[in-house]
């Protein structure tokens, strides 16, 4: 088989057993973000996603997956692993928010400080970070993103279709509302 042309869609379906999800499973619209905690564009998108969640309420489900751009962001991989370490203790979202809110401070001691604030068992956190216990998971997210056509961060998918439009609040919410109908 030979082909010419390509259309990017989400190739890894949302999995409630594995994914980090906010919002109800039966919401009519699902927004998936592939993001990098050190990427300034992702940092700008973070409050916009939160505002969109507030506006859509129960009609939207939000899913976050990792896409660390390790060639240009030296702290992105560790930050993603730290978020997963928090996730392993049921505290993914507080850690996720802390990382996006402190993008300019993501060294190892900084990450440990956010882990402490998120109420993590620090002994377990330290062990996970030292052994890179969650590196494989982050890599799986990354490769799933690559196979879905993630081309930079943040990349958004609305009900499985790559969203290439602007992600200012008004435009994003309008697209989500259309998908929710």
């Amino acid at each position: 088989m030979t082909t010419t042309g390509w259309q990017s869609t989400l190739t890894v379906p949302v999995d409630p057993e594995r994914d980090h999800i906010q919002g109800p499973a039966d919401a009519p619209v699902t927004l998936v973000e592939y993001g990098d905690y050190q990427c300034p564009y992702c940092g700008k998108a973070h409050p916009i996603v939160q505002a969109a969640q507030a506006q859509l309420g129960d009609r939207m489900r939000f899913v976050f997956r990792h896409f660390p751009i390790t060639t240009s962001h030296r702290y992105a991989e560790e930050a993603a692993e730290a978020a997963e370490a928090a996730g392993a203790q049921g505290r993914f979202w507080p850690m996720h928010d802390a990382l996006y809110e402190h993008q300019d401070r993501l060294t190892d001691p900084d990450l440990r400080g956010y882990a402490e604030e998120a109420g993590l068992d620090l002994e377990r956190y330290d062990a996970d970070m030292a052994s890179h216990a969650h590196a494989e998971r982050v890599r799986e997210d990354f490769m799933g993103g690559v196979r879905s056509g993630v081309n930079g961060t943040p990349s958004f998918y609305i009900n499985g279709a790559r969203y290439d439009d602007s992600y200012d609040l008004e435009t994003l919410v309008a697209a989500l509302e259309r998908a929710a109908r």
Partner: protein
């Protein structure tokens, strides 16, 4: 201008990658080749297309594929760009005569005087097995390339 479609023998070329090295397509027979034509070095984005491909070199290697970037920039621009973005795969200069190889692949933008953002996956016999042109401002990502390489591998296995 449309890009060379699947099934077309890929035009051979020999281009410089550094001051003392050239890359010739015909030397790469037996391995899949990914040709990445792009408009210019230094695009103003956080993650550019080539940076993404650099991160994916281990994936391309799983298919024994050779990745080559091609633009009309000169060797010195390529060198600075590769150093800035930590790119380790060859960036070829389609510089003299300008755009000649890009034209041969249907991957030249006459108005802009640059290569278009075009992707080609060639099989081990040097035949185009997949091609795609993205709008200049849209980074096409890598999913199409990886799917094409996977198809090639499946064909070889059958």
């Amino acid at each position: 201008m449309t890009p060379l479609p699947a099934g077309t023998p890929a035009p051979d070329f020999e281009l410089r990658s550094t001051a003392d090295e050239t890359t010739s397509l015909s030397d790469l027979r037996g391995r899949p080749v990914v040709l990445v034509f792009y408009p210019a070095d230094f695009s103003p984005t956080c993650t550019d297309q080539l940076g993404l491909y650099q991160m994916l070199l281990p994936e391309f290697e799983r298919y024994d594929a050779v990745l080559l970037g091609i633009s009309v920039d000169n060797l010195w621009a390529h060198k600075a760009f590769a150093a800035d973005r930590n790119l380790t795969f060859p960036l070829l200069a389609d510089f003299e005569p300008k755009g000649e190889v890009s034209r041969a692949y249907g991957a030249y933008n006459d108005e802009a005087g640059t290569s278009r953002r075009a992707l080609f996956v060639l099989d081990g016999d040097g035949v185009v097995s997949w091609s795609f042109v993205s709008p200049n401002k849209v980074n096409p990502g890598a999913d199409g390339i990886l799917a094409a390489l996977e198809d090639l591998q499946k064909e070889l296995a059958t």
